[in-house]
Amino acid sequence: MSIAYSRKKKINGIILDILIALVVFACVFPFAWMVMTSIKTRVQTINPAIWIFRPTLENYRAIFQKRDLFLYIKNSLVVVVFTTVISIALGTFAAYGLARFQFSRKEDVAYWILSLRMLPPMAVVIPFFLFGRFLGLLDTHLLLILVYLSFNIPFTIWMMRGFIEDIPKELEEAAWVDGCSRYQGLRRIIFPLIAPGIAATSIFCVIQSWNEFALAFFLTSFNARTVPTTVTFFLSVLGVIWGEMASVGVIATIPVLIFALFVQKYLVRGLTFGAIKS
C-alpha cells in the first residue's frame, strides 16, 4: 500500500510541475513572440508557422531612423527622471513626518493621500487638458511631470513610511542624545538605512511613469510624446508594421524588466502600497 501511495504522490508532483511549467510558459510566450517578431522580416511576421529563421535587425534600424524613437525615449527619460526625483524628495519627507510624529487625525490624512493614488486617469486628464490649453502647456514635459506627481507622490509617501517605520526609533534618539539635531539625525542615521527603500521606491515610480499611457496620450502630441504613445503609429488599419511595433516593444520593455528584477524582493510591498510586507 505504501508503495502505491508514494507512487501516487510522485505522479501528483509531476502533474503539479507540469502545471507550473505551463504557467511560466504562458507568462513568457507573448514576450518571446514579441522578441521573435521584432527580428523577422515583414513577410515572416504574418506567417505564424515560422519559428526558426534568419534574424534581421532591419526593424530596429527603421524605428530609430524613420520613426524618431530616440526623441520619444529622450522625452520619456526627461519626464520619468524629473517626476521620480521630485516625488522621492517631497514624499520621503512627508513619509518621515507620518512615521515619526503623532498628531490628531494622522491616519485620516495618510489614507486620504493614498485615496488620491486610486483616481481614474480620465478624471485627472480632463482638467489637465484644459489647463494645458489655457496656459499653452500642452505637449510640454512640464505638464506631464506635474500630472505624474499625482500618482507618484502618494505612492512614495506610503512606501517610504513603511521603510522608515521599519527602523527602530531608538537609533535616532541615541543620535539626539549625542547632540545631533533632528535633521542631522535624519541625514546621518535614517537616510543611509532607508537608501535601499529609496532605491526600490524610485524604481517603482520609474516603471509606473515609463508605462503610463492615458495621460501622455491626451497631454502630448509631438514634442513631448513618450514611448508608450508611439503605439498609436501602429494602429492604422492599412499595413500594420508588426516588426517595427515589436521592436519598439522590446526597446520599451527591456529596461523595465531589468529594473523589475532589482525590486523583486519588494514587489508585493510595492504592489500593495506597503500594506503587505513579504
Binding site: V109, M245, A246, L271
Partner: protein
C-alpha cells in the same frame, strides 16, 4: 503628549503639491461637468447648465448605460477569474520546488510590460488569419476564431487583462501563504482534518485580508482601464468594448468634443471608484491595526 507643529515642515510640501495638482483639478472637473463647454467654443462662451449633462447621460445616452454595464461586467469577470487562477497558481508554488525563485520571477513579465505594448502584441497573436494563437489551436483541430469580432472582442480584452494581472494576485496571495502561522496547521493535522477542510476552514480565513486587498486593488484598476482597450480594440467593433474610460474619451475628445458631458461621465466613474476605494482603505486600515 506635547503639542508640536514640527511635523508640518515635513508634510506640508507634499500636501500643498497634492492640493494644487489633484484637489484643485478635481474641483474644476466638477465645475466643468455643470457647464455646456465643448472644445470648439471659447472658454468664455461657456455657461452653467445645471445637471443637464448628467440628465443627458441618464436619459438620452444609451451608450453611457452600455459602457457602465460592460465596465461592471468586465470588472466582475476579470476580478473573479484573476482571483481563482491567481490563488490556484499561488497554491501551486506553495511547496518545495527546485529553482522556485527563478520560476516565480517569470511571473513578473506580464505585469511590468508597458500595457499598450501588451495590447499590440496580443493584437498580433490573436489575429484571425495569421495570429499564432489560432495557429496553435489548429494543432488541436480548433477552427479559426475571430477573436476581435463583435461577439468575442469583449472576451479578448478580458483574456488579455487576465494574462497581465493574474500574476499580481498570485504574488500577493503567495506572500500571504508564506506568512501564515504554523500552529493552527499542526493542530488541524492532529485533529485529523482533511486537506480540503484545512483549505476551507484555515487557509482561506487566514488569507482573508490579503484576498480582500488584492481583489479590491484589481477591481479599482479594472474600472480605470483605458490603455489596453485603446490598443486592442479602440472600443470596437461598434461599441462592443467601449468601457467607461473609452466612452469618456469618445464624448470629450473624438468627433463630438463635448467636454462638459465627458466631465459628467468622468465624475460618475470617479464616484464609482471612490466607493471601492473607501472599502479598500477601510480594510487596509483595519488589517494594519490588527497586523497580518
Amino acid at each position: 503628549m506635547k503639542k508640536s507643529k514640527e511635523h508640518y515642515a515635513f508634510i506640508l510640501p507634499s500636501l500643498l503639491t497634492l492640493v494644487v495638482i489633484v484637489i484643485f483639478p478635481t474641483i474644476f472637473l466638477w465645475y466643468v461637468s455643470f457647464t455646456n463647454y465643448d472644445l470648439t467654443m471659447g472658454w468664455s462662451k461657456r455657461s452653467l447648465v445645471g445637471v443637464s449633462n448628467f440628465a443627458y447621460l441618464a436619459w438620452e445616452d444609451k451608450d453611457f448605460w452600455h459602457s457602465l454595464r460592460i465596465s461592471l461586467l468586465f470588472m466582475v469577470f476579470t476580478v473573479v477569474l484573476e482571483f481563482v487562477l491567481g490563488l490556484a497558481i499561488a497554491l501551486l508554488f506553495n511547496r518545495r520546488i527546485r529553482g522556485k525563485r527563478l520560476w516565480m520571477s517569470f511571473l513578473i513579465i506580464p505585469m511590468v510590460i508597458t500595457p499598450t505594448i501588451i495590447s499590440l502584441i496580443w493584437k498580433l497573436m490573436i489575429n484571425t488569419e495569421y495570429g499564432v494563437l489560432n495557429f496553435i489551436l489548429s494543432w488541436f483541430l480548433i477552427g479559426k476564431i475571430n477573436w476581435l469580432g463583435f461577439e468575442n472582442a469583449h472576451w479578448s480584452v478580458i483574456m488579455v487583462d487576465i494574462w497581465s494581472w493574474t500574476p499580481f494576485v498570485t504574488l500577493i496571495l503567495y506572500a500571504g501563504l508564506q506568512s501564515l502561522p504554523q500552529e493552527p496547521y499542526e493542530a488541524a493535522i492532529v485533529d485529523g482534518a482533511t486537506p480540503t477542510q484545512v483549505f476551507y476552514y484555515l487557509t482561506l480565513p487566514l488569507l482573508r485580508p490579503m484576498i480582500l486587498i488584492a481583489v479590491l486593488l484589481r477591481s479599482i484598476d479594472s474600472l480605470k482601464i483605458f490603455d489596453v482597450v485603446y490598443g486592442l480594440t479602440q472600443g470596437g467593433p461598434g461599441n462592443s468594448t467601449e468601457l467607461m474610460s473609452m466612452h469618456i474619451y469618445r464624448l470629450g475628445f473624438q468627433h463630438t468634443n463635448w467636454i462638459g458631458r465627458a466631465s459628467a461621465n468622468a465624475i460618475v466613474l470617479l464616484v464609482i471608484i471612490t466607493f471601492f476605494t473607501t472599502i479598500l482603505l477601510r480594510i487596509m486600515r483595519k488589517s494594519t491595526r490588527e497586523g497580518f
